[in-house]
Symmetry: C2
Subunit: 160 residues, 2 copies
DNA sequence: GTAGAACTTCAGGTGGACTTGAAGTCAAGG
DNA sequence: CCTTGACTTCAAGTCCACCTGAAGTTCTAC
């Protein structure tokens, strides 16, 4: 049973606090997204700021970032001390433009859907639907999109 | 060699025009997301409006929709005739609120990141980072997020 | 000191969206 | 008619982000 909350947290404690599975916590640890020390018996122990790192990981995943990208971002956090406001602020600052970008693209897509599907045009050069390469990048690596830029193929043919 | 563009398109022609792989086109066909007829020799042939369907599929995937969801949406299109403006409009209309919602959540996350990481607070009850369940749904099924709602665990503990 | 919850590693599984390769068939230009 | 590129099916492989289960070990409250 877990009672008090000491300075170092076990896998299960971290998992509970972050709302992720223990297996995920171990996985993040194996990937180096979070750090752990070990007890004499070999069990993982985490600093309390690990919770914040995992919160960041979850939020970042929720907007489509891969663990690879997230790891890159987290790499800018200090390894040997608890991150300060300034440390986190640096991470937030680098990500903010990406979020802005993503929002922009979604808005563009929505507007295009209205203007384009709505009117049934889908005229090839102009249409976001038909030239989705720029949109594909907006969510980072989710499914592979395979949207090779075939603009050379796109001659203004009426699709009816 | 593909020369003229007849009324019915082959897998390769559709793939080229849509910027997706031929294997993907076949896959969509197998899933019933697009329709095909067959030549005497058993080769697939697609109507030209298939291009539009695939454009829709690609765009929808790019914003995180699964093929399942996309299939559901496309199911409202007529099977035996080329979709009209009104047909597509119906699809656009049903999806618009979802896009709006998704945009809203992203904006909220961005603002929270500014307010929350920026200031270093991450105070548990208030923080979008720490209570990301509502955000997880914003991109549909991508990676599984596992963000079980543990708000009961979230007692205002100072994370330092 | 002991029960039992929580931990360990490791191998293998899952799901979605395809891709790849093999072995064979079809279509169209010369 | 023949070549060649494009097509066919089917089985198996890939990638990511984990999950599951087994078999064994550690931790902690009593």
């Amino acid at each position: 049973m877990r009672t008090s909350e000491p300075d170092l947290l076990s896998v299960g404690q971290v998992a509970d606090r972050c709302g992720v599975a223990a297996s995920a916590v171990r996985y993040y640890d194996d990937l180096g997204l979070i750090r752990s020390s070990r007890t004499a018996g070999g069990q993982r122990r985490f600093e309390r700021d690990t919770i914040r790192r995992i919160a960041f990981i979850s939020a970042a995943q929720a907007v489509g970032r891969s663990l690879q990208e997230i790891g890159d971002a987290l790499a800018s956090l200090p390894d040997r001390r608890t991150p300060t406001h300034a440390d986190w602020n640096r991470v937030a600052t680098t990500w903010r433009p990406r979020l802005d970008d993503q929002i922009e693209r979604l808005v563009a897509l929505r507007d295009q859907l209205d203007a384009c599907i709505g009117c049934g045009c889908l005229s090839l050069e102009r249409c976001a639907m038909y030239n989705p390469t720029d949109v594909a990048a907006s969510l980072g690596p989710g499914p592979r999109y395979l949207l090779g830029d075939r603009s050379s193929d796109v001659v203004g043919v009426d699709e009816r």
